[in-house]
């Protein structure tokens, strides 16, 4: 019989404690971010789609068209083409296409890139209704980059 | 649990299986081929099918302590031995050795009651008529694992209470992990 009453009292106490916690939280400031009006800066290591790194001095990329990124990609996202050109040692990159719809951002391409020519971009708010909008021409992108 | 007892019982079981197969019964499989296998040249050819028997393999390399190969119809006996020893069935899976025209059914057992002890039991069955008795009578948890193996390899588990597709759609007619599966 005593257990019956202590159960009720203990239960009631736990309920009151719960109420006091939520009521206290009610008076605290919201912690959410109102997305369209505010947004976060992406961290330096954020993994967006890959892009060619622009060399500040030469104004171009470091790619030697070795094809390691293409080979290492688990999902065949990358298509590159290098050509022999007159007066230039090694191959010259003429096409670097990324199919971002298939990419899983594993970073194998970057880990396997010997000259360190590619990096993750910090773009995250990508949206489109067309698949083709995510087929990137990274060379073109590099040219447009300021 | 007495590990030595379990190993002895499994050895006895495997020896019975070898008696059924006169061509392998003459050779006692006690050497540690774990080392042998590693020494083999690295080729794309799958290793030769192993003889039935119990091997104590290098845990640090293989991740298991005891490797047992038995006849297909002995898996229930093996499950009973390991069940009595208090072990858990962790997973069932298959491997398609298409070059030998054989399917291997692999049972992973582990011990959850104390020090780590892992036993793998494997049985090779014909690829053309893949049937093997179910161990779901001993370990009810095998039910889903066997259904999954049926999905992927088409191995028929005799006596299984509900051998239907588990992960694949119920109307599919292929077994994707067979090596001659070419997409659907």
């Amino acid at each position: 019989m005593a257990g019956y009453f202590t159960n009720i009292l203990g239960g009631a106490k736990s309920l009151v404690v719960g109420l006091s916690i939520t009521q206290r939280q009610f008076f605290k400031k919201p912690i959410t971010l109102q997305y369209p009006w505010e947004s976060l800066e992406m961290t330096p290591r954020y993994r967006g789609h890959i892009q060619l790194i622009k060399n500040a001095e030469s104004g171009t990329h470091q790619c030697i068209s070795c094809g390691m990124c293409e080979k290492s990609c688990p999902s065949d996202c990358i298509t590159i083409k290098g050509e022999k050109q007159e007066g230039v040692k090694g191959k010259v990159l003429v096409k670097y296409e990324l199919d971002f719809t298939k990419c899983s951002l594993c970073g194998q391409c970057i880990a396997n890139c010997k000259p360190g020519a590619i990096e993750f971009s910090r773009e995250y708010n990508l949206a489109s209704t067309r698949k083709e909008d995510f087929h990137y021409d990274l060379l073109k992108r590099l040219k447009e980059q300021k | 649990m007495n590990k030595e007892n379990v190993i002895q019982e499994l050895q006895a079981l495997a020896a019975e299986g070898m008696a059924d197969q006169p061509e392998v019964a003459s050779v006692a499989a006690v050497a540690g081929p774990a080392g042998e296998e590693e020494a083999k040249p690295q080729t794309a050819i799958p290793p030769e099918p192993r003889r039935n028997g119990v091997l104590e393999v290098d845990y640090a390399v293989r991740g298991v302590h005891v490797d047992v190969q038995i006849q297909g119809d002995q898996v229930v006996r093996a499950a009973q031995i390991l069940d009595e020893a208090g072990m858990t069935l962790e997973a069932i899976t298959g491997v398609d050795w298409i070059n030998d025209q054989e399917l291997e059914v692999v049972y992973d057992y582990s011990y959850t009651g104390g020090s780590c002890f892992r036993v793998v039991v494997r049985a090779r069955i014909s690829r053309h008529e893949p049937t093997i008795p179910t161990v779901s009578g001993v370990f009810p948890g095998a039910n889903w694992h066997e259904r999954e193996t049926f999905d992927f390899f088409g191995i028929h588990f005799e006596g299984h209470p509900q051998l239907e597709y588990l992960l694949l759609p119920e109307d599919c007619d292929f077994h994707p992990l067979l090596k001659d599966f070419k997409g659907c």
Binding site: I8, L15, L19, Q23, F26, P30, I31, Q34 | -
Partner: protein, 337 residues
Amino acid sequence: MDLGINVFEMVIYLVGFIAFAAANAAYLVWVERKGAAHIQRRTGPKEVGPYGLLQPLADGAKLMSKQFIIPAGVDRPLFILAPILTMVPAIMIFVTIPFSETILARDFNIGLLMILAFASVNVLALLMGGWASRNKYAVISAARVVSQNIAYEIPMLIIVITIVLISGSMNLTEIVAGQAGGILHWNLLPTNGNFLGPITFIIFFICSLAETNRAPFDLGEAESELIAGFHTEYSSMGFGLFFMGEYANIVIAAALTTILFLGGWYSPLPESIPYAGASSVVWFLVKMYLLIWLVVLIRWTYPRVTLWSLLNLSWKILIPFSLFNLLASAGLVKLLG
């Protein structure tokens, strides 16, 4: 009495109460959403109007402009009748509630009885809605609602009888009048003569939560088990009426609790203090909305009970306590009165 004036007054009150009920239902949704958001450290609706104040209107417009889907195979008459039947009794009850000495539509001698009678219609509506939907989740929900409401009507009625014993009337105005003279005279406190006042109040409050199907007793809705319970199949204003009915019932439960336990329109301070001590409708609304806030806070704090613990609570704890309470109060009234 002049019949013409009487009818005119009746219409004014009726329109007023319908408007009050609808506005309350709409803005309690806003309070619930905003309150829940701040309890959870979010901001809640904020885009439609300042502080999202126009959100209920937007929601209402959306609900009204949607198609009222009647699924194939449902019991059409019951399916359509059910949402209406949740809303009508709720508005009827408002007629009897005295918001102050002057603001009341009809001063019934048996006001309390009428409220309880109409409140029981609600469960019928939920049963009809759940049954007519031809949805298994809705049927389970309907069965739950019925057993829950029956179980909680018993302790609630016993408590109401206790109050009637103490105040000696079933007229709501007289029950409030009996609590005049500051907080110490409220039925809530033992100082009013009934030493079991607080327990009476708590039992009544729990019962009113259960009767209005509010969390933690929202077994009928139980969104993580039964999708949306009895209104799973309802869309458009069918759903809207269920929704409004739920909030109207909360207002009624809070108003009734205010009348029975918190001294209605009387100030908690003695009447000798100017302004703050005066009785007015403001005090009534303050008490009522504080109770409603408690109901909201409870919803966003506790997990849901199961059917058995719900029934256990009623039969094993609330009913014995309320019966003992009734006996003790009757004895006290006999001794002191």
